[in-house]
Symmetry: C2
Subunit: 272 residues, 2 copies
């Protein structure tokens, strides 16, 4: 039986504030958790500047890596340094045009938010409706700028806003299902074990042996400091298998195997 390929996802976060350390990239970790929950596998997260060339370059790199999905956040608003869509159009050699569907979404948004005003469609506002040909606008239920979806060969690019509330709403409404379908029933299952009194270097052979025996289960130890000279380690076990039953079965067997090995060492093991 040929194993189905994993559904690979790449996240590209765009914004100088992330590279200055002024903003912690919680967008990327939120997306990573959601993608994982839908059965996808995040292979890389990259943060780049608000710079046309840099964004174009990273999109080309990502396309060469042939991930099934590329999700960008940031850079789709009305200001001059919102240039994600333009940079992608350049990378994939498409022209920008005033997308009628995107324009309708922007007009509707302003009409709803300011029912008593008639906002002019300035250059900055029209900019948010300039999409590459063959792209489609995705509704933004909580903000102005529509998100953008493009298909390049067999890969899909989704451009989401950088404002967390908008990014989350659009991912849940328009992206999650696509990943779920592409993942085709794959299911991610995880479990934590807490161990005190055993050093990471002492438990390493038990972890390695368990992973060799259950190759679909990934096990990683995270040292969480010392308490009265006793080390505390959290062990994370996870499995991404073709079916939920398989994932659950393998994870449970691997956990049992690891616990057995750990209990031969001196320490306290808590399963959570």
């Amino acid at each position: 039986l040929l194993k189905r390929k994993t559904c690979n996802v790449e996240i590209i976060s765009i914004g100088n504030e992330l590279l200055l350390g002024n903003t912690i990239n919680t967008n990327a970790s939120w997306l990573a958790k959601r993608v994982t929950a839908e059965g996808g596998l995040v292979r890389r997260i990259t943060v780049v500047e608000d710079n046309l060339q840099q964004i174009s370059a990273i999109i080309n790199e990502a396309l060469r890596r042939r991930s099934n999905f590329i999700i960008t956040t940031g850079g789709i608003g009305p200001t001059f340094d919102d240039m994600t869509v333009k940079a992608i159009a350049r990378a994939i050699h498409r022209r920008l045009w005033l997308d009628p569907e995107a324009l309708r979404m922007i007009k509707d948004h302003y009409a709803k938010r300011f029912p008593n005003k008639r906002l002019k469609l300035t250059r900055e506002r029209l900019k948010m409706a300039m999409l590459p040909t063959n792209a489609s606008a995705l509704p933004n239920p909580v903000g102005t700028a529509p998100a953008v979806r493009m298909k390049i060969r067999r890969m899909e690019i989704f451009c989401l806003p950088g404002v967390p509330r908008e990014m989350k709403a659009i991912f849940n409404a328009s992206v999650a299902d696509q990943i779920h379908n592409e993942a085709g029933g794959r299911k991610f299952i995880e479990r934590w074990i807490k161990v005190t009194g055993i050093m990471e270097s002492n438990m390493a052979p038990a972890v390695e042996q368990t992973m060799k025996r259950w190759p679909n289960v990934y096990i990683k130890s995270h040292p969480r400091g010392f308490h009265r000279q006793r080390p505390t380690i959290e062990i994370h076990l996870s499995s991404l298998s073709s079916t939920p039953e398989e994932a659950r079965m393998e994870l449970s067997a691997a956990t049992k195997h690891l616990l057995l090995k750990l209990r031969t060492l001196k320490g306290r093991v808590n399963t959570e």
Copy 2:
């Protein structure tokens, strides 16, 4: 007068937990803030898996981009999936050897932490002392695994642990000064302005004009939601100039210019 080049820094975060969304990458944002404060410029942050090939590939990519510094976090501990140093050795075609200085640091650490025990130097513990030839071990004042420093052509690679407390201590003790020296007096200065009642799309032209007039000053608007139909925008102004005086002068002039422009629009402007 020829402007000195910026001191470019790339951060590479290694660890599956970051790609699963189980851990928020606060290491990268802490490092970005510190590097910026020392006058360096973070150009890219990448998160990759605990995978020999993937880590090797990203190191090669980073070396091709010719940043002055590459800082990695994670993957230098005692377990089999700690493979950062091995992957870098492979990327730069160097062999690993048992580094006597690194071995001494590890022995000293165990002797101090467990004065009454004599810990065996198992395979897992010796692994942390296996460095590429020509690399040097950097002391870890709060943990076991020494950090690693390598020079490749004119670039420096620093491999720091993933445990935040250890990463921070080693950066402050052994990396910060190197960046400061390479940045050669460059200074980053920043300022925030809070604006209510003006939409981002309405203030965009004022921001753009100010940046055209003061090209060393970067201005970015961050929408922070609505309060009673009035939008709140935080504007970040920053400058990385050759000298602190120049940075301060330019930032102050640009701020004045922007405030003047914003006050012609209807809204409330607070400088902080």
